[in-house]
Amino acid sequence: MEKKEHIISILVHNKPDVLARIAGILGGKGYNIESLCVNTTTSYEISKIVMTTIGNQATITRIENQLRKFVDVIAVNNLTNVESIHREMILVRLNLSADSREQVTKTIETYQWKVIVSADAYVILEITGDKPQIDFALARLEPLGIADITRTGIIALELEN
């Protein structure tokens, strides 16, 4: 069966060891969590975990069934097979020098990237988009000299519940 990336959205009770349990069940079966995002929902008591992992459909179904067995898991949704939108965010710091300043400024203008901090020696950009958009931005940023970067995991939402 074909292996592909699956985005799994999990509603859980916001308790100290829930993430450890979920990571344990995947790690124990030899699956890597490719990306991960966790935060509370409109209720502090309930968190949503969005994670991506790579596997074939049968294995992913098995993982979903295992996840559903956890006492603190409320719901498990595989967003790969339903219409959903996906976003990631990066924060990037570019160092500025006399040589690079003009090139950096021009590139930022061209792609209309959002500058959230601007200083003499550096700028920090905030870029959001789906995976191809982020990959595209990174390819353009690379030649400018990335001093540091943080990339979030994928967050995703179904178009209809």
Partner: protein, 567 residues
Amino acid sequence: MKLKGTQILLKILEEEKVEIIFGYPGGTVLDIYDRLYKSKIKHILVRHEQGAVHAADGYARATGKVGVCLVTSGPGATNTVTGIATANMDSIPLVVFTGQVPTFLIGNDAFQECDITGITRPCTKHNFLVRNIEELASTIKEAFHIARSGRPGPVLVDLPKNVMAAEINYDPAKIKFRNYDTFHKPAPKKMAHVYEMLAHAQKPLIVTGGGVILGKASAELTALARRYQIPVTGTLMGIGSFPGMDPLWLGMLGMHGTYYANMAVSHCDLLIAVGVRFDDRVTGTIDTFATNAEIVQIDIDPSSINRNVVVDLPIIGDTKATLKDMIKFLTEHNYAPQASYRKEWLDQIAIWKEKVPLSYCRDGRFIKPQHVIETLHKIAQGNIIVTTEVGQNQMWTAQFFPFDEPNTLVTSGGLGTMGYGLPAAIGVKCAFPDKHVVDIAGDGSIQMNIQELATAAQYKINVKIVLLNNGYLGMVRQWQELFYEKRYSHTDMTYAPDFVKLAEAYGVVGLRATKPAEVEKTLREGLAIEKPVLMDFQVSREECVYPMVGPGSSISDMKLGTREMIN
């Protein structure tokens, strides 16, 4: 009413009708033990915490109730891990209370501190670290609920010393927790589907598993099989869920299954699996398992379905409710097997049974382990619950002791834990003091928890040990004989204590039989003595368990031992 944590614990244990705790005290649980000193709840002091968990597990398997343990923090807690994993693999409801260092010391590498919830996360159904007194009562209640609901399992509750010493206004009305009961009633259209499959099947077969015993569905399963004359085979955990003396019973399937059970699986055209998770010891190579059959799988746990064997009709449901529905539907729709087809199928099975029955070569000089087990069955007259250790002793028991009732074979199936049988027998005997409770053991396994003889002696828990002593780690030796050209690497255990003297040293009666003629006399004497008894049967050393399906083979491809020439 203001109560301390320790009082709340005992109060809820009483509410949960806990009759007995298997435990071992220590620093962090001193306050709980002080409460226990004045409590009505019986406590059995084991000699090792692993023994406490196995004893609680044996008690749970024999009674269907939740088994309870209490141990201290650190090493006390880590010693429970093998017992917890054993219960987890076989879905046995337990609540294990572990002491923990005070919350303000957690994470400081305090004396006898360990992260037991972290360690047991993968081998419990759920676990809790109680962080404050406010959540103590609801957590304990929830632990019992989780242990026994849906597919049962062990739950660990870690109790920091300061939480147990704290005081709170205890109001039972305010205890709240979520309901996890995963009770499923299957859709009617599934029953119509089963009906269709049965109507078309010429060679149906039922495979019964541990889920039938846990789901208390033996009566329904037996009624279904008998009414429609469907032969039944079972996994190790399913033994006892269908009467072992019934002509429709084919014995166990799988690696050490009977010839006729494995042949029936390979030739059937409809396989109805009830409460079975298709362990690799059951299926042999998956590609060749029941290739001629459509498969129906009934299980309460969706994660057990389609995991190892891909099935044609999955039914997620409580085994008892599902079988009841199935019988009702079949009755209402006047299902009747086509007599000629069913006769042909049962005749075929009879031919297989006659061709290769379960057997062994009798020998005038040496005691055969199978002979000991058969004799035990004969003289116990049904008034017996058997526990086993793991290895040859366990497989011979499964083969040669017919179990007619559920919850009468208590054995570690999934994890295969050596050292399980003796402490489990102690737990069983506490629940059934009037039944014979016999641990069928090997000389390797028995030494793994032999210290529990002291527990049996102290409390006059009159368990009996039938030791099949061959001076080897017999099952491993068997594999070395068959698959490693008889290189017996580190399986010779002839250096062992004199078990009769050892038993006597513990205050237990020791008996010995060295000749076949002494077997029955020794067993009768051992069962009659009103004390714990260890019976040391010096059996023929290199006896093998047959049939045997080799690793990586189809279950229809069996080594039959002395009967090999027939196949």
